[in-house]
Symmetry: C2
Subunit: 316 residues, 2 copies
């Protein structure tokens, strides 16, 4: 038997993506298919097994070389017990997925939530490669976060460390309510949802802007309009960047990470977002805490979830 391989599973509401990584976190092969979450837990587990067995069979590796299977899930997970506590998109509640998959594969199985797994993927073989202490923001529908300390995911007391999206950074007078029930969370302004909301508000109140289709604005359009010189769009982008960066300044003072990695759809905005974020971060961070610290775009894109899931076998 030669080198070991690590299988990662990205379990989403519509699709399951699987991949094979080597010991250094290089993603060697990928495969995937529908989740079929409407057909119930056992069909979803069947599908995971099918895709995993398929990708190994089609690869140059034997089943004996599989060190284990890691899975990242969009939802609340109990990492220690290996249970998906609640994953509304997949229709899972209290599913002992580790036990179910271990009995199928007869291999070690590890699970974690998607934000932690994406952070681990980036830390292991993306923008944080070689870095022991980093944090990762994922700016999508919400704002997710993950913390890597000494190369491993940091869970906190009840597995909820890294909830950067729910830091209350917007002052009360400007704050709106977040999905979590609290006011002024980062997620209300720096997620795609937050950006779209601000754009709709601007259009509805008649601001002078090139943004116009109230029903179908996407975050990308707001960034494109800002790049093209639309001042209303630019103000929205700046606001998203400002509160993101304020939360990062707070995270920096707490954790003093070497690298902040920012991924997710919103991060594709590029310089228009990152320049503002770096400026505001520097404005609110004492100079000694800035030294040697970088804010970098994620590198693995949608693969971060598969790679990080595979990494759970080595790094948790």
């Amino acid at each position: 038997m030669s080198e070991m391989i690590y299988v990662g599973v990205d379990l989403g509401g519509t699709a399951i993506k699987v991949g094979i990584c080597d010991r250094e976190g290089r993603l060697l092969h990928t495969y995937g298919g529908p989740t079929e979450s409407d057909k119930g837990v056992h069909v979803v587990i069947d599908n995971i097994e099918k895709y995993v067995r398929h990708i190994v069979e089609q690869s140059p590796y034997s089943w004996d070389q599989v060190a284990g299977v890691g899975a990242g899930v969009a939802g609340f997970t109990n990492v220690r017990e290996g249970i998906i506590v609640l994953a509304p998109n997949i229709g899972f509640q209290d599913v002992p997925i580790r036990e179910l998959l271990e009995s199928r594969f007869a291999k070690p199985v590890k699970i974690d939530n998607d934000a932690n797994v994406a952070a681990l993927g980036e830390a292991w073989s993306g923008a944080g490669r070689g870095i022991e202490n980093c944090v990762c923001y994922t700016l999508g529908t919400g704002v997710g976060g993950g913390i890597i300390i000494n190369g491993k995911i940091y869970q906190g007391f009840s597995g909820m460390a890294g909830e950067f999206g729910h830091m209350a950074v917007v002052p009360d007078l400007e704050a709106i309510q977040c999905g979590c029930g609290k006011m002024g969370c980062v997620e209300t302004v720096s997620s795609a949802t937050g950006i779209i909301r601000m754009a709709k508000d601007a259009v509805e109140r008649g601001d002078r802007t090139t943004l116009s289709t109230v029903d179908n604005i996407a975050a990308k359009e707001v960034f494109d309009a800002a790049k093209a010189g639309d001042e209303v769009a630019a103000r929205i982008v700046n606001r998203a960047a400002f509160y993101l960066a304020k939360s990062m300044a707070a995270v920096g003072a707490v954790l003093n990470p070497e690298v902040f990695i920012v991924g997710g759809g919103v991060s594709n905005a590029g310089d228009i977002l990152f320049n503002e974020v770096r400026e505001v971060y520097a404005k609110y961070t004492p100079e000694p805490l800035q030294r040697g610290v970088s804010i970098l775009p994620a590198q693995l894109g949608n693969d971060a979830g598969i790679v990080g899931a595979a990494g759970l076998l080595l790094r948790s």
Copy 2:
């Protein structure tokens, strides 16, 4: 040879306090004397040696039972190299204190800054006893912080983790500049210095308050006045508590600690401070992140520094 003992040194600008702890962090004996920092590095080191040897000689333990000596210092420390980088109160700059003390004692020596050491003391045998993940705020002249993860001090990338006092929580329009050069830090409102400044401002602008002696207001007077029904003083206390709690809500979302420990002179205010802090913390923290999490007063008072310093031998 029977049980080992752990010697802690609290190196301050005017006094050096030393103590002997057992393996469980119980403080068995204390001793101390002047720092004599005006006489230079070698006299200070002589004094540390003198007090440490004295306390061990006067105790029922032999020198062979000393497992090592830990020291906490008010200043910037390079923990890995064992160097005091800058301690203005002691007049130390780039002093290789670990090497100096190891050659005097022929025992292992560990150092760290006072905020980290106080956090470790409280975690080891104070309010955080038995807790693996906790954070500690020290509200004194400034606002210091320390993070304990898996029972040990978490240092961060460049040894600056836990700088809770420099989280920018005060909105720009109300913010003043902090000693660190940035605007709106927790330290500007929640430290004794911040509370005294707000009291002086109130007196100077002629607010209706029982606070009157502009030159010599102490934080304790502000708390006493607030307890006695002075509304201006109550507003100052609430403001100090509000921004402290906002920073704690952010720390909670990042680290998800089991316990927040609040020590230092300002924490002696008691319920008038803690009740407001708990209320504001709950206001800005999503419910799942509140579950099982406590905000507790420190228990060791001024001894936290000695105990934590001794703890460096076992917990770093």
